[in-house]
């Protein structure tokens, strides 16, 4: 259930499939190694070819990396503005005049494994935006976002649901 005092533009976004996108690059092992290293994940299905072949029919990505494959390059020669992931989140911040934001809840449901060499596609949906609420961070609104991911075969690889809180700090 969304608030009744939202700008018409924001209301029109709710429930709409927005920002369909194909990943800018194939799923690759370099980031998989970096992610595993950042948490000291020694699961052999990410490191050992024999284990990966036996258990997962080849190398896959850690399921928790699902959003990584769509985070835009910090810079490319084809874009003049800084790329932002979760564009719906930033759209809401801008449209509602809330300069700061944090994410609170995050749920991920995993489908078929993401494999090295996959090129994934995604889209975003805003599910709800709350009334204005005051918290220890400031005054703002909570919103629920959903991000759906498929592989190049159209198979569902996962859905992420986020709750964000956009706010203005108290003066």
């Amino acid at each position: 259930m969304s608030a009744s005092d939202l700008p018409a533009e924001v209301e029109s976004w709710i429930g709409e499939r927005r920002y369909p996108e194909v990943g800018e690059f194939d799923v690759e092992r370099g980031y998989i190694f970096s992610s595993c290293a950042s948490v000291e994940n020694g699961n052999p299905i990410f490191w050992d070819e024999e284990a990966a072949k036996e258990i997962t029919d080849g190398f896959i990505a850690p399921p928790s990396m699902i959003s990584v494959w769509f985070r835009p390059h910090y810079w490319t020669p084809y874009r003049s503005e800084e790329g932002k992931p979760l564009q719906c989140h930033f759209d809401l911040k801008d449209a509602l005049g809330l300069p700061e934001a944090v994410m609170t809840d995050n749920t991920i449901v995993f489908g078929v494994p993401v494999r090295v060499g996959d090129r994934l596609k995604t889209w975003q949906v805003i599910r709800s935006v709350s009334e204005l609420k005051k918290t220890k961070l400031g005054t703002g609104r909570f919103w629920d976002l959903e991000i759906v991911y498929e592989n190049q075969k159209g198979e569902h690889v996962g859905t992420e649901s986020y709750t964000g809180y956009g706010y203005r700090r108290e003066a």
Partner: protein
Amino acid sequence: MMRESITLDQVEKGQQLPPLEVDVSVTNVVLGALASRDWRPMHHDKDFAVERNGTRHIFVNTPHNAAYFERYVTDWTGPKGRLGRIKFRMKDSVFPGDTMRFSGVVDAVRTDESGCGWADVSLELRVGDKVTTQCTASVALPTSSEDNPWKRRGDDWKP
């Protein structure tokens, strides 16, 4: 490198997961942010984090947090453990200098209609006395030494 996997019959409700402690450094926070392609400055620029976010330092980002929970669960299950669903609530941030303490307990052990075995677990990440992240996860486990949840497809995979 871990090779063995637990099977569903080795798990029961109320079972504790082995605890895990991790000391967090600036390098660790930045590595996790860059590995998840998160270039936002509050995860690598202390001045920005303090002045704009009102936090005391840079802090661990959401995908890095998720990666820690994945590692924590699969360290316990072994490589045949397959995450089906994970939900977490970040209640407070984790900063360089903190020691993260992960703990977990099995809430339920079940087999779904396709024959897939599941353990539902509640997990906590604490820094000192404070719970910084609460998490629940459902992880598919082999029902026998021959079973492998990663081989499940279509209607046989219902996370």
